[in-house]
Symmetry: C2
Subunit: 294 residues, 2 copies
């Protein structure tokens, strides 16, 4: 790892925060001095991270975790961004870079920007990486390996380059996009799939008891995949849907129209239409495999 940032603060010690801590340790070269400060509002998470020995300092108050840092990473649910930004505003060091890892970008920019002092650089970001697990014990150092880490910026500056470099050192491929574009893309690739998965698992859990037990017992591949997605952190996802509602509702409307069409084809027993629809979707999969994102 290069000498970009020497003092790094991680606020929020869940899957993403602890994976960053672990990746920093895994990637730094032997003689490199990097100091990490870790903080979470939940004292149990702080204790866990202390015991795992993956941060130089685990701080009991957020100001101590922030004040020395060249780089501050907010890896917290997007619904908490505003509160945390207002809390740390006066503790941020002059010249520091602050980023976040939230899954909605317009909302985070609106919530955080007003609290950023003039001599601090706020550059929102979003690693397209995760699992269905949450909490400090779910992190692992290779989480960002070969995954995109999106930086939200309208221009390349020395600071965006520094940050990009840091993410590349953690194993990621960095691309720069606008907040609006990000929120649309992620609505269809991540938010809508999660909503759908939550819905279908919810539908199953409302079935009569016998049927429900056998749904669990005989969960064939399709449903099993959905339950994995629907096991993700409920606070994180509540906040996502509250904070990217516009893009999600737009994509959901399109989805509903397509689903109604298919429903009609099933009712009318229109095999040709079903076949042509199912053939078309296969090619998307092929492109994803070609893009190396599988």
């Amino acid at each position: 790892m290069n000498q970009n940032f020497k003092k790094i603060s991680i606020i929020g010690l869940g899957l993403i925060g602890t994976s960053i801590l672990r990746a920093i340790i895994a990637k730094k070269s032997e003689h490199e001095d990097i100091v990490t400060y870790a903080y979470d509002i939940n004292p149990k998470h702080r204790t866990t991270v202390l015991e795992m020995e993956i941060a130089t300092f685990v701080c009991d108050n957020i100001h101590d975790a922030i004040k020395e840092a060249d780089l501050v990473i907010l890896s917290i649910p997007v619904g908490s961004m505003k509160t945390v930004a207002s809390l740390i505003s006066t503790s941020l060091k002059k010249g520091a870079v602050i980023t976040d890892t939230g899954s909605t970008k317009n909302s985070v920019i609106n919530d955080v920007s007003p609290y950023i002092p003039k001599n601090v650089f706020f550059i929102p970001s979003h690693p397209l990486a995760g699992t269905e697990y949450s909490g400090p014990k779910s992190g692992f150092s290779s989480l960002f390996e070969n995954r995109y880490w999106l930086i939200i910026s309208n221009k390349q500056t020395d600071q965006t380059k520094r940050l990009a470099n840091f993410f590349v050192n953690l194993g990621s491929t960095v691309e720069t996009v606008s907040a609006e574009y990000h929120d649309k893309i992620i609505a269809i690739t991540s938010h809508l799939p999660h909503l759908i998965a939550y819905t279908i698992v919810g539908t199953a859990s409302d079935l009569e008891a016998d049927l429900k037990n056998d749904v669990i017992k005989f969960s064939a591949s399709g449903f099993r995949d959905f339950t994995r997605i629907a096991a993700s952190d409920p606070i994180m996802w509540r906040d996502v849907f509250l904070n990217n509602s516009e893009a999600v509702l737009e994509m959901l409307q399109r989805f509903n129209e397509d689903l109604s069409d298919l429903q009609k084809s099933i009712r009318k027993k229109d095999g040709d239409k079903l076949y042509s629809f199912f053939s078309r979707t296969r090619s998307i999969r092929r492109k994803i495999i070609e893009a190396g994102q599988d």
Copy 2:
């Protein structure tokens, strides 16, 4: 493998058919004499299976593949069951057991039963196993390992026991259920998830070109899982939806109601309702992991 069935006919050389052929080879004991007959309507598939050397005989006509067999397995799309059953009706050997591996059971029973001679035992079945790949090269011998193989029967007979034993020898756990119950359970665990996955991938593929390319590029975990499901064989799935339309449409209606509820919660920014919904679905996942079906 025990000496249950000595001469086994596999009609349909896709993922399931070739996996059965491979599993028979992998599981049979050294001195056991089992003869397999393989047939597919597609001559290319027959050539492929011949080249892979996974069947004792690859037959160029379906009657030759059937006439000697103690056990006939129809591993073909459910929409072809009626035609194939009518074709083989007079070639079936006295005392033979015939089963199928289709994903819809009421329809298969209606389509196949009229063509089964009195001295032949038709016992429908369904292995809850598969991948998104299709064709003769996609099969592998461990596909059925630790997966349920459902037998559709209202009573235990010597013949159902023989068949169950054969499936157990291929690595499966066997359970007996009624056709009606099967079709309901599979509608929610497999058919609806596939329909939803096909829909969302279709919705994405209708996006404007730029957005669509970046959806592929940045396909985060949720969407990527859906594209895998939506890459499954379109003929098989067309037939499934045509032949289990009643149960699928019923489950789809429940799903649509639940999705409308969540949509409303997002629009109204009702965080409590979203949170409680997302928490509930997590427990289903836990039960599936406990049930060892992950």
